[in-house]
């Protein structure tokens, strides 16, 4: 039997892995399968999990993570990191509260101001990392504390809660009876934009090259610092947008809004198959990674486990997502080499 199988395998015409095959068997696909598996398990074992309410609760808290995960994925692919995303969102939330409540700005101008604050935060990170050449880990740990501190300076111990009701209800509304938050439309646009940027533009190609080898990237004319700078600016802007959503969703702007979410974002991106060493990953995987984190957390919440357990689980997923790829990468490379030899033997056999 095994003999017959081997014969057919050899007789099969030499064919490279196509796009479709990559879609179903690639690393992205594994994350998607893992997500489906977790959803199925949760539906079977967690009471009340299978239902429309789940879709809506699960997804609404996925919104800010998904948003921040997009620029984060690109940044990690270039081999850097941005730990200040949640603090940037917190700062823009604080600015939003003060400008709206104390300065009585028009709400739309408040949004514009918040986004600008976010872009400036990102530019600040970007300048320190690219122009001065400091390591991104150190810089963004610093600005994680700095931006949070500024948020406290801006809004103090106050909580602003009197935002227009139509906006806050819009933030928590769902599309028809599907349970999908209306806000997901914006998220979808952002995700699509980043997917195109990463996978279909010269800029995206450059990011992968950059993540693997800065030196090789420079030799093909990639502007290493400029690319990184704009990623941090984008990260700041998107984080501010997530901050705005957060305030509307909870109808409250405080100095500690969005605290600690950077961990979930990083965990989701790594779980989604982006390598912490840079150079590989894809948007589909990252989206699945975010949903995995949310599904696991939500199921545990439904099962009545305390928040401390949730933190432990998030931390464990983060560690797991860092360990798993380095183990599988070794297997993969040796497998590929074997495959290349075999394919070569067939192609060039005389």
């Amino acid at each position: 039997m095994s003999n017959a199988a081997a014969t057919t395998a050899v007789a099969r015409p030499v064919k490279a892995r196509g796009t479709a095959s990559r879609l179903f068997f690639g690393r992205n696909a594994n994350t998607v399968y893992a997500l489906l598996l977790i959803v199925v398990i949760a539906s079977v074992f967690v009471p009340y999990f299978a239902g429309v309410a789940t879709v809506s609760f699960l997804l609404i808290d996925a919104v800010p993570i998904l948003l921040m995960a997009m620029p984060m994925a690109l940044i990690i692919i270039t081999g850097e990191i941005d730990l200040s995303v949640a603090s940037t969102a917190g700062l823009s939330a604080a600015v939003m509260g003060v400008l709206f409540h104390d300065a009585h700005w028009n709400v739309w101008w408040v949004f514009v101001a918040c986004i600008i604050v976010g872009l400036l935060c990102g530019a600040f990170n970007g300048i320190l990392i690219t122009a001065i050449g400091l390591p991104s880990l150190a810089v963004t740990i610093g600005t994680l504390a700095l931006f949070r501190g500024l948020a406290l300076v801006v809004i103090g111990d106050n909580a602003v809660a009197d935002f227009p009701v139509d906006l806050t209800t819009f933030a928590t509304s769902t599309i028809g009876g599907t349970g999908i938050p209306t806000f997901m439309i914006f998220v979808a646009i952002v995700v699509l934009a980043f997917a195109v940027l990463l996978h279909f533009t010269p800029f995206g190609r450059a990011l992968f090259a950059l993540g693997f080898s800065k030196e090789a990237a420079r030799f093909v004319g990639i502007r290493v610092n400029r690319s990184k700078f704009w990623l941090y600016v984008a990260s700041g802007g998107i984080s501010a947008f997530a901050g705005i959503f957060w305030v509307l969703r909870y109808s409250s702007a405080q100095s500690d809004s969005v605290t600690g979410l950077e961990l979930s974002v990083v965990a989701a991106v790594l779980l989604g198959g982006v390598s912490i060493f840079g150079g590989s990953g894809g948007i589909v995987g990252v989206v699945a990674g975010v949903l995995i984190i949310r599904t696991v957390n939500y199921s545990l919440q439904l099962a009545g486990l305390p928040d401390t357990v949730l933190t432990i689980v998030t931390g464990s997923l983060l560690v797991l997502s860092v360990i798993a790829p380095s183990v599988s990468a070794r297997l993969k490379l040796s497998g590929e080499k074997r495959r290349n030899r075999a394919l070569r033997a067939e192609t060039f056999a005389t």
Binding site: F219, R338, N340, R344
Partner: protein, 507 residues
């Protein structure tokens, strides 16, 4: 004790039929060498012949997969460099790694400092022992100065002093003269001879035949990871050695075709970067292959990197087809029609984890994009076309380049630049680490490019490659061009003299 049958001198070290593979790559197919006490034994072979792997086995860095290894007649199998040291083997590397903030004496006795009262380091004793070592070697180095700022030659002497203080009976020198000046080489040889006369067995690895014949008692040749032969030095000539190293006639290695030479494509004038290179001026014309020769560290790669815009330069101009190229901007160099096949293929030339197709099209990512988006079909078509033209042997365009052999990786690097239709191609050590057969293929490729009218600037440390390929040879020495030789007047001696510190004095 094992005695060599044809000699009264006992074998200090014997390695027989050692093999070593890294994954699919066989680095050493037959590592065989016998070193006797009181001899200087040369190990020669082309780049990639397996010399470094053999040295690393002797040093305990690598463990051989199979083979027989005896030191002093006793069977050994080293698990670590410490085991090798304990067995009396010391390796002096080309560029020693001393601790720059420690003194010379502290470096020699690092980790085994003489102790005095209270278990503290006995500085006086350390100092006098170091002084004694240098006296024995006949080299005046102050044991109390810090290692920072010492020349490479002095650092090697310190490593040798360290080896002697460890009672090393076998000394392995891995290309020790590559970065030394003529006087320094002579001093090193004097030290080596005196050690030999006191009974130390020395393995000397060098690419320079004059040194090998001048210094060594026996010569072992390796090729393609395997032992070829061991000769007593008087029994062999340079030509015979070269024939054994390349395994074929040298003339067939470099099938240089005659190319019509046209207008100047690249004009570099008075290029200077303080402390790195000074007043570099040269032209490369269409169809011409210009070689930059010289010793490692003479500033050749630095000049090329500045021309291409990877590094800055202080003064001077770079013109491509008469138009100035913006300094420090690889993208404008590429846009103007330059390509650069860098020296370190794995780090600079390729993104190892990306697929063959992605690597080939990386230089074209802008031209391939229509309305800002890259068409995957176009990308694949271009990649396939160029891989086919250069006969890159890969099972699939989707496999990462890390799975290819060195020669095929180099073809991918060349392919990605040819795809940009360059007017000038800079190739830095184009055949380093490539097997002999593919080497000839790379040479043929470069020669064909010249025939097609591409100007080629080639940097190479391999003299036969320089002499065989170049129409014009520029020799660099300490950041300056010390000789300009046409193909007709270029000889190995002329290039070597211009590259070393003593022009014509040694002749």
């Amino acid at each position: 004790m094992t005695m060599s049958p044809n000699s009264a001198t006992p074998a200090a070290l014997e390695l027989n039929s050692a093999t070593k593979s890294f994954g699919a790559v066989t680095a050493l197919a037959d590592g065989t060498i016998e070193i006797r006490f009181g001899e200087i034994h040369a190990l020669v072979g082309e780049n990639g012949a397996g010399k470094s792997t053999l040295v690393k086995i002797l040093a305990g860095v690598h463990q051989p997969d199979s083979g027989h290894f005896t030191v002093n007649g006793e069977h050994v199998s080293f698990r670590s460099p410490a085991d090798s040291k304990d067995a009396g083997i010391s390796v002096i590397y080309q560029e020693p790694t001393l601790f720059p903030d420690l003194t010379v004496a502290e470096n020699i006795f690092i980790g085994r400092q003489p102790r005095g009262r209270l278990g503290l380091i006995d500085r006086a004793s350390m100092h006098s022992q170091a002084r004694e070592l240098f006296a024995r070697l006949g080299v005046p180095i102050d044991p109390d100065r810090v290692a920072e700022g010492l020349s490479i030659a002095d650092q090697q002497i310190i490593e040798i002093a360290k080896a002697i203080s460890l009672d090393a009976r076998i000394l392995v020198m891995d290309e020790p003269t590559a970065a030394l000046s003529g006087v320094e080489v002579e001093r090193l040889f004097a030290v080596a001879r005196s050690l030999r006369d006191r009974g130390t067995g020395i393995l000397f690895i060098s690419h320079r035949f004059d040194e090998v014949f001048d210094l060594c008692d026996r010569i072992t040749v390796m090729r393609d990871g395997a032992f070829i032969a061991t000769h007593d030095t008087p029994d062999i000539t340079v030509d015979g050695l070269v024939r054994e190293m390349v395994g074929r006639d040298i003339a067939t290695l470099f099938p240089k075709q005659d190319a019509a030479i046209g207008e100047a494509v690249l004009s570099v004038s008075n290029l200077t970067r303080a402390g790195v290179f000074t007043d570099i001026s040269f032209d490369v014309r269409a169809g011409e292959i210009v070689a930059l020769a010289g010793l490692v560290g003479a500033g050749r790669t630095e000049v090329a990197r500045a021309v291409f815009g990877i590094d800055r330069y202080d003064t001077g101009t770079v013109l491509l087809s008469g138009k100035p190229i913006r300094a420090h901007s690889p993208q404008s160099a590429i846009d103007a029609g330059m390509g650069f096949v860098p020296e370190d293929r794995r780090k600079q030339g390729l993104v190892m984890d990306l697929s063959v197709a992605r690597n080939v099209t990386l230089t074209l990512r802008r031209t391939l994009a229509r309305f800002g988006l890259i068409n995957a079909k176009d990308e694949r078509r271009v990649a396939e076309e160029w891989s086919a033209r250069l006969q890159v042997k890969t099972g699939s365009q989707d496999l990462s380049v890390a799975t290819l052999s060195g020669g095929n990786q180099q073809k991918v690097v060349i392919a990605k630049w040819l795809a940009t239709a360059p007017r000038l191609l800079i190739v830095d050590e184009p055949t380093r680490g490539i097997d002999v057969g593919t080497k000839a293929e790379v040479h043929r490729l470069i020669s064909e490019l010249a025939v097609q009218g591409i100007a080629v600037l080639m940097i190479s440390s391999e003299l036969p490659e320089v002499l065989g390929m170049a129409d014009t040879i520029l020799v660099m020495h300490e950041g300056r061009i010390s000789a300009r030789l046409s193909r007709d007047e270029a000889t190995a001696e002329a290039v070597l003299h211009a590259a070393s510190a003593s022009p014509e004095s040694a002749a």
